[in-house]
């Protein structure tokens, strides 16, 4: 099988520090590969090598079947790159940014303008189209950056932390756009610090830390191993009655935490209203209740037995 993105034993050193210490990645055409990891894990370095911006020190990488070192020009014809730091020209308007890229890719003026107008509409930037990109909000900037990377209709798109620092609404907008790209047949490599984002978008997730692959699998597989969401309640009284109801409704044995906190894995979202209804019927009032996702740290711990901040294995 020919992968759209493929690396074998990828190594990159900066001084005596290894940013990548042998990474294997593989993304079939039309899939979304999520590369998940904390700051400094090596995600950006991997993207920069695949986008032909940096040469690897060891191993090999191919994009669309072309080796990134031997045939960078071929790779560049296939890819779109969205950086972690929005790399649009702040002194140009959104429209001018898009037209410039179209012209650079060899489009005629009318064609470049038409493509810019279509992307501005698709990315909900029409109102700000003729304002300098430097005046855009964080979310608008990321959307413009993504639009710019899609001008040439690339078949392979690299998105390096496209939603870091965005508010939930702007993040949801970007997720919608990523899904549309995939629906149109593009292969996407997405790096992220958020387990939830990888879960929402990726077909396969590779968890990397300190330049090595710590775990890989489908979101379902990784979540099963990392532990899914948990329903937490803290009854004000009748703790035993609450525990019985929780066990009965969820079919799980509740975990007793500190200060009377009870928690169970939440496998089905419909379960929590049922729990609250039964508790109310039984006259048990709650001091606190929450649905909590595992944090990236907890997921790391569960998946690798190490923490993100230091190796404990």
């Amino acid at each position: 099988m020919t992968y759209a993105i493929e690396t074998h034993g990828l190594v990159k050193r900066y001084g005596d520090k290894a940013a990548l210490a042998g990474i294997d990645l593989a993304a079939p055409p039309g899939s979304v590969l999520g590369v998940l990891g904390p700051n400094g894990a090596g995600k950006t370095t991997a993207v920069r090598i695949l986008a032909t911006l940096v040469s690897p020190d060891g191993g090999r990488a191919a994009v669309g079947g072309h080796d990134v070192v031997k045939a960078p020009a071929e790779v560049r014809k296939l890819i779109g790159l969205t950086g972690q730091y929005a790399s649009v020209d702040e002194k140009l308007t959104g429209r001018q940014n898009l037209v410039m890229i179209g012209r650079l890719l060899g489009m005629r003026r009318a064609e470049a303008r038409g493509r810019a107008a279509a992307l501005l509409a698709e990315f909900v930037l029409e109102d700000a189209a003729d304002r300098a990109a430097g005046s855009y909000s964080g979310g608008m900037r990321r959307r413009l950056d993504l639009a710019v990377s899609l001008v040439g209709r690339p078949s392979i798109v690299f998105m390096d932390e496209p939603t870091t620092g965005l508010d939930p609404r702007a993040r949801a907008d970007l997720w919608r756009i990523v899904r549309e790209q995939v629906a149109s047949g593009a292969t996407v490599l997405l790096t992220t610090q958020y387990l939830e984002e990888a879960d929402q978008l990726a077909d396969e997730i590779v968890l990397i830390d300190h330049g090595v692959v710590a775990a890989r699998g489908t979101p379902r597989e990784l979540k099963a191993r990392a532990g899914d969401r948990r329903l937490e309640i803290r009854p004000e009284h009748d703790a035993e009655k609450a525990e019985l109801i929780l066990a009965e409704v969820t079919g799980q044995t509740p975990h007793r935490g500190e200060n009377g906190l009870l928690s169970v894995p939440l496998l089905d979202s419909a379960v929590s209203p049922a729990v609250f209804r039964r508790l109310e019927e039984a006259g048990v009032s709650l001091a606190e209740h929450a649905v909590r996702r595992p944090t990236l740290d907890e997921a790391f711990l569960a998946l690798t037995g190490t923490t993100t901040s230091g190796r404990t294995r």
Binding site: R48, A51, T52, L53, V54, A73, R76, K77, L78, I79, L81, G83, Y85, A86, S87, V88, D89, E90, K91, L92, T93, Q96, M100, I101, R103, L104, L105, G106, A132, V148, S149, G152, R153, P154, S155
Partner: protein, 261 residues
């Protein structure tokens, strides 16, 4: 993405360079405030150096004849600062990473930048010349001599803009680029015969002014605009421009292709 045509040919590279030159100039249209600053500076230099310093000397007409060519050299060389600063800015904010990930000629971003800056420099020189004429400078050379003087100035400036490009590509930040460029440009322009004849300077300054290539440039431009005998200055200036270009175009291109963060 089969729709993208081959872009490795020279026609492609040239068109891409022009697109990127457009990109460098269009902010002037977007924000007329930038335009005002960039047109006002040469006028201000003429007011200070030709009118005010000229008034100090008593003979304002003679002063204008001597000082205006110096101001032209000064504003032209200072304007090369923009090349490196804009390149450093593009590197720091990630615009260059985008260009480098695209199927375009490697040289296009550099060529576009230098072309745009040559155009703005030409406008700056023209504004300074018009302001100088308003301030009492008279071109006494033939039209051909005048054009030759302006062309020589532009050629030398272009050579220097590759030094600026190299500095900008090597710099860690926009501010450090600006610092280094100022440290290079101030002694080159002020420590030359642009404003004061070397014979009037003491010791080390006289020596520096006499070996400084900008002195040859200033003397050549002054002679060409006023129809005076040019002596060896034109050829020395051309030799310097050729040497600087031959050194710094390859250096800048290499710094550009190796610029890896």
């Amino acid at each position: 993405m089969t729709a993208v045509p081959s872009t490795t040919g020279h026609r492609g590279a040239l068109a891409q360079g022009m697109t990127l030159a457009w990109r460098s100039l269009v902010p002037l249209r977007n924000e007329p405030g930038r335009l005002v600053q960039f047109l006002l500076q040469p006028v201000f230099m003429v007011v200070v150096f030709v009118l005010m310093f000229g008034a100090m000397s008593g003979d304002t007409e003679h002063a204008a004849r001597f000082l205006l060519p110096g101001v032209l050299v000064q504003v032209a060389l200072i304007s090369t600062n923009a090349t490196g600063m804009n390149l450093a800015e593009d590197i720091v904010n990630g615009v260059f990473d985008r260009f480098r990930s695209m199927p375009i000629a490697r040289s296009a971003p550099l060529v576009g930048r230098v072309t745009a800056d040559a155009l703005t420099t030409a406008v700056t020189i023209a504004v300074a010349l018009l302001a100088g004429i308003a301030a009492g400078f008279r071109i006494t050379a033939s039209p051909l001599g005048t054009l030759a003087g302006l062309a020589l100035l532009l050629l030398f400036t272009l050579a220097l803009s590759w030094v600026s490009a190299w500095l900008g590509l090597k710099a860690k930040s926009v501010a450090s680029m600006q610092g280094v460029a100022t440290a290079v440009l101030l002694p080159l322009t002020f420590g030359s015969s642009a404003f004061i004849p070397p014979a009037n300077l003491p010791g080390v300054l006289r020596w520096w002014s006499s070996v400084n290539p900008v002195s040859h440039l200033a003397d050549a431009v002054r002679a060409l605009l006023t129809g005076a005998p040019v002596g060896p200055h034109v050829w020395v200036t051309l030799a310097w421009a050729a040497a600087v270009t031959a050194c710094f175009v390859p250096l800048a291109v290499r710094a550009y292709t190796r610029r890896i963060r």
